[in-house]
């Protein structure tokens, strides 16, 4: 039988639907998650299946409804809240990091906050400074939140299922460019085989998307797609890149990172988040800590160069790592 192909957005909504059927305590809250189906389709079709009591459109009040999700979770429900764009986190951050993230710890482990906060990330379509960010590094910095950043439809379904079943707060970051939306720039990697039955993908296990021997590319989300495309180009020039998709930042698969670098002796981090004080620094630090003696060249970081995302296409394309720039940087690294 032919494999069933789904887009990432359908994979996510399927995971949510299956878990909602399995568990009455799961429900969805967010802006435009109902009739609209979620601006990025993560809840498409769910209103028809489950009705407005379980697929709840919210007033524009992220602090209020994400805080309400926290309160419902501590009462034993398993809410899935959608923050439409991660860029809006500032309107809700107190609930996200002072409450959602900390209540379990502050309670001495006596209270659980089993909820999922899903949110859209990423740029490359001229949505400018307030609608194009990634910011997963910021959430990975504050303790108490599991940080999940899928790149494939298969992972998206399995990681979402895992997230819903997890007894902890999980932030689930889907990149608009990996969702397979009809109105985004087409991305063949955004559609892929997804089993129909429910399954989980465990947190904390990176995926080696491509084996290689000349350098390790550490990345995730849309940048995993671009890194794979770059790796194909590099292969034509005889450079063999290993591409590691981290999949989750918290927990982080430190072992996979270190092992790969010990094998290839060169590492490049490709990140769509801001460069400084974020993911790329952390990964480079880990490599320096655990594989210093194996490095034949300094770790290289390719990320947004600490500027807000500009609107105009040429500028935006200049700051977000592209396939060409990834390939060029990899060549430089290998030549060092």
């Amino acid at each position: 039988m032919a494999e069933r192909l789904l887009t990432t957005s359908k994979a996510i909504s399927e995971a949510i639907a299956q878990e909602m059927k399995r568990d009455d305590s799961v429900f969805v809250m967010g802006e435009d998650v109902g009739a609209y189906g979620g601006i990025f389709g993560a809840t498409e079709g769910l209103l028809d299946q489950f009705g407005p009591e379980r697929i709840m459109d919210m007033p524009i009040s992220e602090m209020g409804f994400i805080g309400a999700a926290v309160g419902a979770a501590t009462e034993g429900m398993r809410p899935i809240a959608e923050l439409m764009f991660v860029d809006f986190f500032g309107a809700a951050m107190d609930q996200i990091y002072n409450h959602m993230a900390k209540i379990h710890y502050m309670s001495g482990g006596h209270v659980n906050v089993p909820m999922v906060l899903m949110t859209a990330i990423g740029g490359s379509y001229s949505d400018a400074a307030q609608h194009s960010q990634c910011l997963y590094g910021l959430f990975a910095h504050v303790p108490g939140i599991k940080v999940v950043v899928p790149s494939t439809p298969y992972d998206a379904k399995g990681l979402m299922t895992q997230a819903i079943r997890d007894d902890n707060p999980v932030m689930f970051f889907f990149h608009k460019g990996v969702m397979g939306l009809g109105w985004m720039t087409p991305n063949p990697r955004a559609t892929g085989p997804v089993p129909e039955e429910p399954y989980t993908v465990p947190f904390g296990q990176a995926a080696v998307r491509r084996e290689g021997s000349d350098l390790t590319i550490l990345t995730l989300s849309l940048m995993a797609h671009r890194s794979l495309d770059a790796a194909e180009k590099l292969a034509e020039e005889g450079i063999n890149a290993e591409v590691i998709d981290l999949r989750t930042l918290v927990p982080l698969d430190r072992e996979a990172i270190v092992e790969s670098v010990k094998k290839t002796h060169r590492v490049m981090i490709v990140d769509e988040d801001y460069k400084s004080f974020g993911m790329s620094g952390e990964l480079a630090a880990i490599v320096a800590e655990d594989a210093l003696d194996y490095l034949d060249a300094a770790p290289k970081r390719l990320a947004v160069p600490d500027v807000p995302i500009p609107y105009s296409r040429p500028m935006e394309q200049y700051v977000i790592p592209s396939v060409d720039r990834i390939a060029a940087a990899a060549k430089e690294l290998v030549a060092e």
Partner: protein
Amino acid sequence: MALNRDELLDLYRMMVKIRTFEERVGEMYYEDKLPAFDIAAGPIPGEMHLYSGQEAVAAGVCAHLRPDDPVTSTHRPHGHLIAKGEDLKPLMAEIFGKKTGLCEGKGGHMHLFDPNLHFGCGGIVGGGIPHAVGAALAIKKRGEDRVAVSFFGEGAANIGAFHESLNLAAVLHLPVVFVVEDNLYAISVPKSVSTAVRSNAERGAAYGIPGVQVDGQDVIAVYEAAQEAVGRARRGEGPSIIEAVCYRYRGHFEGDAEGYLKPGEKESWKEKDPIHILGAQLQGQGWLSEDEVAEIQGEMTALVGEAERFARESPYPAPEEALEGVFA
């Protein structure tokens, strides 16, 4: 105080100007995006929230404003900025992402700033409301008679920044007018799903601020409510809130399938079109002929055409300019 012919014609012309601009942007938006719609493609990429249908609010309020009166707007800002007096060329060029744009291509359609017109906006719902309060605070500190105005949607009235801003404006007795454009929806979510109160104007009472709800299709009604509120602020008598009930014709953003609308809803609102309403009134008074209607439309089409040409012919910024301007 009844408006005279010139005042009414100014309002009419402004509404036509905004409508013409928005409709042309709406057309150009789809260039090179179809047949398989790609939001990133074409001369105008990214999200696009147009103001068509709501012109009476911007025109009616901004008629009372001077260039030095601060205005904050939203993700749907073109109408406010045009009514505030912006030149269409740098505005259009910014929407095209060109170097000659208001923000040199860095801001884009949702992030338009003009210090000469004291105008700012942004893509975060409720984000501009505190800025207007702060501008009003600056005005008060300097003892000036300027007035700050913040435009935002009825959806924004449910966010915390609204509450904090109105409370602060009230306790500091600041010269600021809050204008809620109730266009019935926040994206797909109708007002009835997002709040249990009928009118956000009533919320003024929670802060000790006078509030009034007006018909946002009727530019004269908006004009009069704004006259009172802006006058109050200019005289140092404190903040006000106006809610104008209106309707957006083009969906939340371009590409919105509008599956959430009731059948016939949009059509029935189009029958109450603000430009037609004022046009009919003017024609009834004998103050506007069919020829003049066509002439005004022609003038605005030409202005928008010029802006379009300017935008198309302007160069893009160099890619490396992205690295400049994080700090002053």
